[in-house]
């Protein structure tokens, strides 16, 4: 079902209790939120948890959205912060086993496993990056967001995110080169 209206209007409707509006917001952003969380956390189950936590926060804070950024940018910022919180709680590096828990009764699970496993060396190299670099590379190069968008989501100046992306790529090349040498 499609719910008409721009995204800011949808959030206003969420505040007034419109369930369809919230479902529409979720449908618009759940894939990218999950993707960002998976790249940052490196673990499918944790990414699903983080995706759920992200939308819980979106629901509860919908009334605080002030329209200073795109709704998507606001939501991805919540997603990144949620992932930061998870990483802080875990206090350990993310696992590299992506699709272990996928439900075997899910007909699309096999495809998801194959998709996630296409470039395991890149996933592993990403996991080796310092979190700040990894997040910048994920948002910019994997999710295709502009540098200003990535900067807003990460809460840092554009120059900082630019530098992190560039250095992150350099480190990725180094890690990937090391993997190939082994």
């Amino acid at each position: 079902m499609t719910v008409p209206g721009n995204e800011a209007e949808l959030l206003t409707r969420v505040v007034s209790g419109d369930r369809d509006a919230f479902d529409a917001v979720m449908r618009n952003h759940e894939d990218r939120v999950f993707s960002v969380c998976l790249r940052i956390l490196g673990d499918r189950e944790k990414a699903l948890d983080a995706t759920q936590d992200t939308f819980l926060t979106v629901f509860r804070k919908a009334g605080q959205f002030q329209g200073r950024s795109a709704v998507g940018t606001w939501i991805y910022r919540i997603a990144v912060n949620t992932c930061y919180d998870q990483l802080r709680r875990a206090q350990r590096r993310p696992s590299e086993s992506l699709p272990e828990h996928v439900d075997p009764s899910d007909p699309s699970a096999e495809e998801a496993i194959e998709s996630a496993a296409l470039r395991p060396e890149i996933e592993a190299a990403l996991a080796e990056l310092p979190p700040d670099f990894r997040n910048a590379v994920v948002l910019s190069d994997l999710e295709g967001l502009s540098l200003p968008e990535a900067a807003e989501i990460l809460g840092v100046p554009i120059g900082t995110v630019k530098s992190r992306v560039f250095r992150g790529r350099r480190l990725l090349a180094k890690h990937l080169g090391n993997q190939n040498d082994q």
Partner: protein
């Protein structure tokens, strides 16, 4: 290599430079810069070839199901209501309270007046944040103030009814409420309670050209009915549901 050339070369690699002249000259003249450029291009290519991470259909379904379960289990954590909307709720609550106190002060009701008003004010302020996040926040069209009006009117009257001894001694101030409906120029263009087969009931008691302008929910539903034609004499009729009987005309 210094930081500045790295940023410049990397920006050349991802195509974000508006003027590539300086960066291209650098890459051509400096072997180290050329190597850096190749590295950046290579990594961008790897990342671009990485497929998007997607949830399976079952994972999406589980996400939605778990999310709604979580929201229902934590009813107190509904969306933070903006300050202006809270102000509207408070204003609506005060408006209803003042209206009720005005009616009660006219002497139609006995001793429960003050407690009724207090109940009304508390109910009006509490209503938006309690219960299921998608049930207690008002109607889907966002017009929550009318709901508060109906609920709080009923709450106040109910309090009064309880104080005066229950159903046998209900002292519903029909005349006062009818007069208030007339003086407030109740909106006759909007009917209420159509889910209770109101139209059929009104037709049965020969009020088919009338509309419901308000209702009071006690042990039974009391409808305040007025002629649909605004030019007609503003006679207020009270019809009680589900019996569908006229209990007052004035």
């Amino acid at each position: 290599m210094h930081d500045h050339p790295l940023d410049l070369i990397a920006a050349l690699a991802d195509g974000s430079l508006s003027d590539e002249g300086e960066a291209r000259a650098l890459v051509e003249s400096c072997p180290e810069c050329r190597e850096e450029y190749r590295t950046q291009i290579e990594v961008i290519g790897w990342l671009a070839a990485t497929p998007a991470a997607e949830m399976t259909d079952l994972e999406k379904a589980a996400l939605h199901r778990d999310l709604w379960t979580e929201l229902r289990n934590q009813p107190g954590k509904s969306p933070a209501t903006p300050w202006w909307q809270r102000l509207v709720y408070v204003a609506a609550g005060l408006f209803v309270t003042v209206g009720l106190v005005s009616v009660l002060n006219n002497g139609a009701l006995n001793g429960g007046a003050d407690s009724g008003a207090a109940t009304t004010a508390a109910g009006a302020l509490d209503a938006p944040t309690e219960g299921d996040p998608f049930v207690a926040q008002g109607s889907d069209d966002g017009e929550s103030a009318p709901e508060f009006t109906t609920e709080t009117t009923a709450a106040a009257t109910e309090t009064t009814a309880a104080a005066s001894g229950g159903e046998e001694s209900l002292a519903i101030p029909f005349a006062e409420l009818a007069e208030e409906a007339r003086s407030n120029q109740a909106d006759r263009s909007a009917t209420q309670g159509t889910d209770r087969d109101v139209a059929a009931c009104l037709a049965r008691v020969a009020l088919d050209e009338h509309v419901v302008v308000d209702e009071i929910d006690l042990d039974q539903i009391y409808l305040l009915v007025m002629p649909e034609d605004p030019e007609a004499e503003p006679i207020v009729t009270f019809v009680v549901l589900p019996r569908c009987e006229i209990v007052y005309v004035g």
